[in-house]
Symmetry: C3
Subunit: 668 residues, 3 copies
């Protein structure tokens, strides 16, 4: 990819097509302004139809025609779906998870640690990468796809886990103590007594195992990256398609969810270390449900892994019936990705597939392979990007707010939920979405990668487990002038999910100027005259100001939300799950405390502003209308130019944005 | 059975009774006018208590007493429940299905292809049939019962399936191409690579397997029929108790559903070939939920298999708490079966069972084995049938409308649903019930058995997959003057579920004068000012008239329902799931186009008219009141006689039908 | 425990604590007035860390410090959770149930019959009891904990079950006849044909197996008691923590239910035989849902096992978020237990656990191990009990009403439910709660332990199966002047679930003066102008008076509730599930018939009166206010003294009870 060109791409699988259409497809792509195709991931059985017999017919055709057409190519290693002969060769290739041994058929159900799998994966990767790396069209490689640990509970991972525990705890006694294993007679006296993890009912130990499972997935990616690195050219990148927690909404097979929150099956921060270019996929509700929040959350998460721009390697074209885009939405979505810091997007996928599990996960083209309204809108995007792309690429953000996320706290929340209807990611999204809707941009930062010095505000949704060191870090952050906003169930337990046996919130109760030792189902309790849901901690202020007491016959003497001046900073604690209006009030005050006064905060959802500096050093303001209503708003910037129309706009001018449309202002 | 006598029968199991009551039971049956008993199916462990040791005590008693009492007997082969010794002898007798190996206990959970099972089934059939065939009371045999494939995924069926695929596709390449197996690396290079089908995620291949599974069930029936044929007398019939998709409604064990739609586990059209008399069971909601629609649908389906009259081998007496009949309902149900073309009915069952899984699937007699209101009503039916039965038997229908059904499209709908709450049979019933409620009688025809020349209207609910030849047939049907009414998701894919890679609806878009390449969840869209549910195709007319455009901000430019004059005929396409009122409007216009002007169409549900010619060549009109309200209607027929009262009635006269009552008019 | 001192106790597990706190904990306990700790159950892996290696460090510390602090100790055998080394030693230790072999991790998932388990359980019991029995603080032993059969379907229990059947039925023919096994070919000709019970679909046989499973659990307890008896001192008791059906309400893991009704997994009446002191745990909704009904039901059940006082060995302190007690509730609950006949209570548990499955099943202390409002309220209870306990202990009740319960009928209801939303325990609680809310105290009596002579009223909720002998007993009870109140589905079947093949209700239809042979879903039917739910038998009176006919177009000719004078007594039959208001009307009339005229019946829930005689021979009346509203009521007793305040109160005086508060009156 040329340095200054946005990627406008699509996944492409001639292997799946009922007829040879490469030339015609590439013509249609070029017409749409598409400049990149992503190929080969999941096509192992085509690449290696028999053990050791390789066939590059499709790859060669693609590369040849791509070169002719001037398309760049991202080559994916094909390993996330195994051919049947490999599963036959060694039954242990198929993963054993909580439900038993998986049966051949689906993708992503093998044991990443299995030696047979590794042997064959390595061979096919070497063959494919060595075959393609020198080709001029190939700009980079994607290793595997949406890799996770697949709930691996096979013998090998359990053996390695015990080794890991031995190294970490040295003696069974320390292991017992860390996780309170004597409870229900689960303590062990010798390492040999360690039982099969499958039946484990100790949340802490199960959480430790899940952390270990995630590590194996990251290490597997690093292993692939190391192999690819042996062959690739300097300028070719190594990327991976990171994905998010897939939230089901009870629809139909293969059409049943969207990218909702933090990924439980792999740790993005760890996984990203071996990549030279960040990549991800984000799928989200559309039509009347299009809010942009998932695009924001996903983008802010990926960008914050290394504070770099990233590629959206998969995003929806037509997808399925719920997501057929209204006029304007495909374009709004595309710009939303850029507005979060993406350097381009790639549709999944080009054509719709005519048979198979994802027949109705439709691409830019419908099954008739002809032009259609969605394709037409893609053409408009391509046209615009070729015109103004240089102003949009490499958007640089310097957010002052960090929202902290943590895989391990997510696991703890599964074991110790506050309510069956409130997951960890629900709390994360409750806080993220509130910031998003207020137009306070934030980084979404893994706890392992936090540098507090970067931020004025740190927000912690349900950060259940935290080490002493980390708590010290947060304490110092506030002391030195930072603003901390923490939700209920933050700082409860140590890294083994052991609840700290002293005043809650552990170590930070002084910082928050309050403590609690009881909590309750909120029942009929209200706060600020709005109902509560799920959970309420009964806070006793000790120095803090109560921003809101519970409204309830018996809990009225307790605070629900507190604010405390501490050192040079301020600490907010929100002890209950409130309506978003209440949360936003708190966040607004916290922003004021932190001295954050973005002009964009004058707007609120459905008018979303996302901003940054472009490569010319100019400030860019995306103003996105996520509604079917036309928006008339007052310009808050001194003087800006609409990059799409060239029109100038001054502070106080009225800006009109039609339904599902947007403006991109560059400060002048 | 005497040629001209309606069967009035009941299943009878003295094997299950706590005392010897055969004589008393037969007396009570005779009093009720019952003339036939159906015996022995599912009593294998009584007939053959030990491997090779046969005991005909019960059969002999039954036959002896039946002869005395003048009752006819249908003898069932006992094979649909196996004795425990057989399951012990060969563990492979128990079927392996998607959930693993079934455990002994229930009926219908063995492997129809297992050689041990076949050996013993053959032996017990030969013993039983040879023992009973010469008995004067035996009028016919039922082979097995409600046979289905039981989701057989055992080794043997998988082996045979691969043989079948080899023969059909010859090379793995063709197989791969037909089902798009390269997707997710599922393609195979050699037949040996073909994996266990259990994990299959390719809808097309899984559909092909399910079709094959159904074939094995039909072949098994043919195998039984061939054995029976060696022994039976010329005049003795071979029948089978075909049943329908069992729709659960979330009630209690053994009382949890009813006969809803097309049977997924066997293909009736194939299965019927080996039978000399059609038979079926139909269970349906009663009390406030009695509509007659299931009796209509089931009867129209069975009759259309061979365009012959049929026997209802099982129907509900009291059954369970939801179905305790209101006064009049047992009788209304009995006549409804005749009105669909049945030559008689048989209750399941005579007595209620005192222990076992179906204790509360109550028979004509309650557990006290005494007379009761339901039995009393049966006596009335028996009395009436003995008087007017000759006018009712062999009802001959010549319907002008065919509703097409297809097992294979049903499977495709499970893999590629348009909505989790809309099954294939829901679409079938949506269209069938609309016709039924409008008093347009139709045949329910398997796609494999369609002769278009028989019909003026062909209705296709969600006929997802269709071969080129079949589409050609429909095209010709319209060209030559027929009226085609097709729902959304018709003619999408070929026989392997591969979506046709050109303009939709494939091959018939010219016939329909419209095409589409996008579809959507309807959301807030309406049509004809009524809300839509589940699914909406965005139709672009190309010659057709739009009968209704979508009412929606973005989809308003698309049609939802179209009508096209094509050749000498007309083609309607209904691209969305509408309320039944909208559908009926369309069907009414289609009927007018086809020149169908039945007088019965002046009435509508709850007044249902079913008609045909009796053996005297006279036209019979059943007028059935499916409501608790008395109905006063105007007579539309010139001059008719009420067969039950003998009263005459002329056009324009007022006909009064009390709640859950009926009239049977014979034209004079 | 001193004879005349109420137990005020708590479970205590220093093994689970992150630090050594025994001394500090005992100080805090003493401050709260706690006099007893319950220890060691479930700590096997601590007591015996390796096979045969015993470690009594914790026990010894506890006993030493307890003696110093003057605390009594109940030592529990640790067997209800096994150490991992035991599961490793013999895989058959883990139970095989309907879902297969359990995996190590949880408690209560082993095979009670497994010889390896028995060998090691015996050894650890002998070690522990011999080690502690002579210690002066040890007042008694708890054997195992909440023991049930764990749905054991392993080989050994199946082998023993066949032995049991052989002994009971002698021949396969009798077995077949008892359970109607010929149905669906399940009959056997030889005992060797008896199949694996797992797939059994015969409710009667499955019920017999479940009865047998329960027996094995009781026998296991007896086996433990016999071992303990070899070591214990005369004055030390043997108790067990009996628990109730755990009704889930869809909350979170480990926080998902409460003690609802009759226990399915063991028969309390059988189990209690080996105990020298009755014990139980009762958990129940709190906050706005606190009604006292579970405390009443559980206590009345346990007390009636031997007509003795009992210990509540576990009750909730803070437990989880739904149960954080409102001010006053912890105390109200404590007194409610005494008011049912408990001689004391013990919290589960002292401290909250810092890691493990029940981290959020909070104890008296929160995780911070400091004082808190719940602990403070416990201190008040302790103070009061030390003052007035002597007046409260050994409450003697002489109830005139018996409510009969039956495990076996419960099983039958699972196989033959009248509605998926109405369980056996729902019917039990419908009747119990009505009595409770009317302040008619009753004994909850196992059918196997009934002495009719003790009672004036016998109430039978859904007593589906009953032997001829038992029915004769009830018939005599009424003849001699008793009042029988039976619900629908009483007296339907024999002890094998075989429906009696004659007039229903079997044998007692004369007693009730009515019979029925049909029933129905009530649908729109009403009775006494209130809606019905779930089920309605259509009763035909034959001598009885109909207290209410159904209000329904077709069922109006049938009675729903009848009353019959029979011999010197009266029999009521309630053939349908009514609202509680209707049921209470009937119960009121039945009480009048029986001559029960308690003054407490002038009050009704939320004012609950529970009464008995104390050891001074004085009548005690607990008046409990289960509401957040203050109650003002008229005193109905001639002259009573409030034990808590010392105030006197006379008939007609106004009594004021604040929210969640109570009075304890002693007659003067």
């Amino acid at each position: 990819m040329k340095k200054d060109q946005l990627m406008f791409g699509t996944a492409y699988y001639p292997e799946y097509m009922p007829c040879d259409r490469i030339e015609k497809d590439f013509l249609m792509m070029k017409k749409a302004g598409i400049n990149t195709i992503r190929v080969a991931e999941s096509t192992w059985s085509t690449l290696e139809p028999r053990d050791g017999e390789f066939d590059f017919t499709f790859i060669d055709s693609i590369l040849k025609e791509a070169e002719k057409a001037g398309l760049w190519v991202i080559v994916g290693t094909p390993t996330y779906a195994v051919p049947s002969w490999l599963a036959q060769k060694d039954p242990d290739v198929m993963v054993i998870n909580s439900k038993g041994r998986e049966k051949y058929g689906r993708r992503q159900i093998f044991d990443l640690l299995n030696p047979t799998f590794r042997f064959h994966a390595e061979r096919v990767i070497r063959e494919l990468i060595s075959h393609t790396a020198q080709h001029s069209s190939v700009i980079g490689f994607q290793i595997d796809n949406e890799t996770k640990h697949y709930d691996n509970k096979g013998k090998e991972i359990q053996r390695l886990f015990i080794e890991y525990l031995k190294e970490k705890f040295e003696t069974p006694e320390r292991l017992n103590a860390a996780f309170c294993l004597p409870y229900w007679s689960n303590s062990i006296a010798d390492w040999e007594q360690f039982p099969d993890i499958t039946g484990c009912i100790n949340g802490g130990l199960a959480g430790e195992f899940e952390k270990f499972q995630r590590q194996t997935a990251s290490e597997y990616l690093k292993w692939q990256a190391d192999i690819v690195r042996e062959y690739k050219k300097e300028e070719q990148f190594i990327t991976h398609n990171l994905d998010f927690e897939w939230r089901k909404f009870g629809a139909d097979i293969a059409q049943d969810g969207y990218s909702y929150g933090v990924q439980p099956g792999i740790n993005h921060y760890e996984a990203a270390k071996c990549l030279t270019k960040l990549g991800a996929d984000i799928y989200h509700p559309t039509q009347d449900e299009l809010t942009g929040a998932e695009i924001g959350f996903g983008g802010d998460s990926i960008r914050s892994l290394k504070y770099e721009n990233y590629l959206i390697l998969e995003c929806q074209a037509q997808a399925f019936k719920y997501w057929t885009p209204y006029p304007g939405q495909l374009r709004l979505q595309a710009y939303s990705h850029l507005a979060s810091g993406a350097d381009g997007i790639s549709y999944w996928n080009w054509h719709s597939i005519h048979n198979g599990f994802e027949t109705y996960w439709k691409g830019l083209l419908s099954h008739d392979l002809e032009e259609n309204p969605t394709y037409d809108e893609a053409c408009r995007i391509g046209r615009e990007w070729s015109e103004i792309g240089a102003h949009l690429i490499h958007l640089e953000k310097t957010n002052q707010t960090a929202l902290l996320v943590d895989n391990h706290s997510m696991t703890s929340f599964q074991w110790f939920p506050v309510d069956k209807d409130l997951s960890y990611n629900d709390v994360v999204r409750w806080m993220y979405d509130s910031l998003y809707e207020m137009n306070i941009e934030c980084d979404v930062v893994d706890v392992n990668g936090l540098d507090p010095n970067k931020y004025k505000i740190i927000v912690t949704p349900a950060l259940y487990c935290a080490t002493e060191e980390f708590l010290e870090k947060l304490d110092m952050f506030v002391k030195r002038g930072g603003v901390l906003v923490s939700s209920f169930k933050s700082f409860v337990a140590d890294e083994y999910f052991s609840v700290y046996a002293d005043t809650q919130p552990h170590r930070l109760h002084e910082c928050f100027g309050m403590s609690y030792n009881q909590f309750t189902e909120p029942g009929k309790a209200k706060i600020k005259n709005t109902p509560l849901k799920y959970f309420a901690e009964l806070l006793t202020v000790k120095g803090a100001e109560s921003l809101a007491d519970y409204e309830h016959k018996y809990w009225g003497k307790y605070a629900g939300i507190t604010r405390n001046a501490y050192g040079c900073g301020t600490a907010y604690y929100i002890g209950c799950y409130t309506e978003k209006t209440v949360l936003k009030e708190i966040l607004k005050r916290a922003a004021a405390d932190a001295g954050i006064r973005e002009k964009s905060m004058e707007y609120e959802w459905p008018v979303i502003v996302r901003q940054g500096k472009n490569k010319y050093g100019k400030q860019i303001h995306y103003v996105l209308n996520y509604s079917e209503e036309e928006q008339k708003i007052r310009c808050v910037w001194k003087k800006v130019k609409d990059l799409l129309t060239g029109e100038l706009c001054q502070e106080g001018d009225t800006i009109v944005i039609t339904d599902w449309d947007l403006k991109i202002f560059e400060e002048v």
